[in-house]
């Protein structure tokens, strides 16, 4: 036994798979201890906030300690963030259309460009071939350029509660800085928010945990049913075998996914918790395990060591437990790993078509995909709402299949290279 473990941990493939899976498990376990936000809390108004660090503006402005930093490129960066390269090209295009010669326009010199623009832009001018949308764009652009070159401070004002007149309460200079560490409200959203405005990362970690437990429950149920039926039908043979194989054949010819859809649908949206889905998946995916176990038991039951055990007066139950089961153990472990990873995939499949666990209680990887799809994250290019989920599913199944291949090579020396 000890030797087998040593062998397993010498297999490179197994180790890689194992490390990935353990890393995922540790993340699932440790992350909630460090970051205690409820995973399904709606944190943003508006959907699909891009990934980033969100600092509260009110707190930043209101911060008592303000620092002055003189940085040379601050102004340039500020202008850049409001006047992009695309905008400059658009300005050039308008100016050319308005009859300014190519030589006068230098889009890299911000001051000259703005001056040229201010002198020439006329929103009432109609240029041939320009659509209404384009014209509106230029109007918006023109408005946003106001004060771009200004170096004056912004004035903060608050309404006087009595007169209602605005009173100056402070000034924000262009050289004013606040230390982010001193801003009391900062929220890091490494993967942004989803369609409901929920923190995708926290949700993803929770969903991974739920999906893994769905896989585990489904895997254990499927493997145990398959193992018990396989053992009984393989060892006893005869009538028991006929009946079990009849049921098995029935399940084989009906695609289990169709069955799963029908069962899920008939359970109804309200009753479908994550656990119920796991049980349903387990109950429909034992067929191949049962078949394989049966085949192995049939080849084992005529071996001499089983005959010897019979001659030693052991009961059928004893023979199954000590002479058959240990010989199957390695196979069963591998079947379990495969069943877990396929359980996770099946849950994802079901959830994508909207028949997964109900959406109000827990997130699962499949549900996150489902939400992403319904709210068109993939069309709108909001990659953070679905791509990390895809990567997570791929990583889980990849690590498990890798572990399985590694185990296969240990248990079947013929496959070793």
């Amino acid at each position: 036994m000890k030797h087998t473990f040593k062998q397993i941990f010498r297999s490179g493939k197994f180790i890689v798979g194992f490390v990935i899976l353990v890393a995922i498990l540790l993340t699932v376990l440790i992350y909630p201890l460090l970051i205690k936000y409820p995973p399904l809390d709606v944190v943003s108004r508006g959907t699909f906030l891009p990934p980033g660090i969100y600092a509260n503006i009110y707190d930043s402005v209101d911060s008592s300690t303000r620092y002055t930093l003189i940085l040379d490129d601050a102004a340039a960066k500020r202008i850049d963030s409001r006047l992009t390269q695309d905008d400059r090209l658009a300005m050039q295009k308008w100016l050319l259309a308005a009859g300014i010669s190519q030589d006068e326009i230098n889009i890299d010199d911000t001051a000259a460009l703005l001056e040229l623009w201010a002198n020439n832009f006329d929103q009432t001018l109609r240029i041939a071939g320009m659509t209404n949308a384009d014209r509106n764009y230029y109007i918006r652009l023109n408005n946003s350029l106001d004060g771009l070159m200004s170096t004056e401070a912004l004035i903060l004002a608050a309404p006087n509660p009595e007169s209602g007149a605005l009173e100056e309460t402070g000034i924000v200079n262009q050289t004013d800085y606040v230390n982010v560490g001193q801003v009391p409200n900062i929220r890091v959203l490494p993967l942004g928010t989803d369609n409901f405005g929920r923190d995708v990362l926290t949700e993803l970690v929770k969903a991974t945990g739920v999906s893994l437990s769905i896989g585990l429950v489904a895997g254990i149920i499927a493997t145990s049913i398959g193992l018990v039926l396989g053992l009984v039908s393989g060892y006893l043979g005869g009538f028991a075998d006929d009946i079990i194989m009849f049921i098995n054949n029935l399940f084989t010819v009906i695609p289990s996914f169709v069955l799963l859809i029908l069962i899920s649908f008939s359970i109804g949206q309200e009753e479908r918790g994550a656990f119920v889905i796991a049980v349903v998946i387990g109950l429909t995916s034992w067929v191949w395990t049962a078949r394989a176990v049966r085949a192995q038991v049939i080849s084992l039951r005529n071996r001499d060591h089983v005959n010897l055990s019979k001659l030693s007066g052991h009961s059928v139950a004893h023979i199954l437990m000590t002479d058959i089961l240990p010989y199957l153990a390695s196979y069963v472990v591998m079947a379990l790993i495969l069943q877990i990873s396929s359980g996770i995939l099946i849950e994802a499949n079901l959830s994508i078509i909207g028949l997964g666990p109900k959406t109000t209680e827990v997130p699962t990887l499949g549900l996150m995909m489902n939400w992403g799809m319904i709210y068109q994250a993939h069309i709108m290019g909001k990659w953070w709402a679905y791509f990390p989920v895809v990567v997570m599913i791929a990583l889980i199944t990849f690590s498990m299949n890798l572990m399985n291949t590694g185990l296969d090579q240990v248990f079947n020396p013929a496959l070793r290279d």
């Binding site: 071996r303 060591h305 005959n307 010897l308 001659l311 030693s312 000590t322």
Partner: protein, 269 residues
């Protein structure tokens, strides 16, 4: 040693496998009568049905037809309890020692099973230990070195000796030895055969050898049965059958075996 009491006999014993066109007759209406104390050999080539016959004798396979009489009475092994009772009287040694043991169970559990089978389940461990030591020393193994070992850590010869130690503890009336020496080396073969003969004298059992090796059959047995295609073609005392074969099949079999003192006639193939 040989007596006239019948210990195991069969009438019209038949075993067929498969149905319809696939139907094959492995053992075809075989009659035999094994006397208590004699050493019997059943000789046949592969596919002659000798292993099927052995399994039927052991009660591991159900005969399709015919009956087996044990000590003159029809054998009854319909329930688990009766089977267990029958297996106290008949035991086996298999051909391949490497596949005969459960690789997950240690040597002492194999022997403890035998003590339990003989009704010694409640004996104090010290007494069980003494019994196991006695059995192991009978086959020249050191029990104290074996307790924590797995059978597959022993050599083929040692495993086969452990099998004999098992028989020593079980003390059955009949021992079916299915090619007990074909997988082990020539030098260990002599040891195993010696031990089996000693054991026979010690506990008065009736050994039945199932073998393809006509030389071995001649060397060990009193009575030889030659089996071809599921039937006994010739039987009788070892000297009669081997030195004076009557049937062409027996003659051919003998002719095909290389010998030391006779020319091996290769022209007759």
């Amino acid at each position: 040693m040989k007596s006239d009491t019948e210990i195991l006999s069969g009438k019209g014993l038949t075993k067929t496998f498969g149905f319809g066109a696939q139907r094959t007759v492995a053992v075809d209406h075989v009659d035999f009568s094994f006397k208590k104390g004699e050493i019997i050999s059943i000789v046949g080539e592969s596919g002659s049905g000798k292993t099927t016959l052995a399994k039927m004798l052991l009660g591991l396979l159900k005969p399709t037809e015919g009956e087996i009489l044990f000590e003159g009475k029809p054998r009854d092994i319909r329930s688990y309890r009766k089977k267990k009772e029958y297996w106290k009287n008949i035991q086996a040694i298999f051909q391949d020692p490497f596949s005969s043991y459960n690789i997950f169970r240690k040597v002492d559990t194999v022997l403890l099973d035998c003590i339990r089978m003989r009704g010694g389940r409640r004996l104090p461990y010290e007494q069980k230990r003494a019994m196991m030591q006695e059995a192991c020393s009978f086959v020249n193994l050191k029990f104290d070195e074996l307790t924590n070992k797995y059978p597959f850590e022993l050599s083929g010869g040692q495993q086969q000796r452990l099998m004999i130690a098992r028989i020593f503890l079980l003390k059955p009336k009949i021992l079916l030895a299915d090619e007990p020496t074909s997988m082990i080396d020539a030098c260990s073969r002599a040891t195993i055969l010696d031990m089996l003969m000693d054991l026979r004298n010690e506990i008065g059992m009736t050994p039945i050898f199932i073998t393809h090796d006509i030389g071995l059959a001649y060397y060990v047995s009193d009575t030889v049965y030659i089996m071809e295609h599921g039937v006994f073609v010739e039987s009788g005392s070892a000297d009669d059958v081997i030195l004076n074969p009557q049937e062409t099949y027996t003659k051919r079999l003998l002719n095909d075996v290389p010998k030391l003192h006779e020319e091996w006639d290769l022209s007759t193939v």
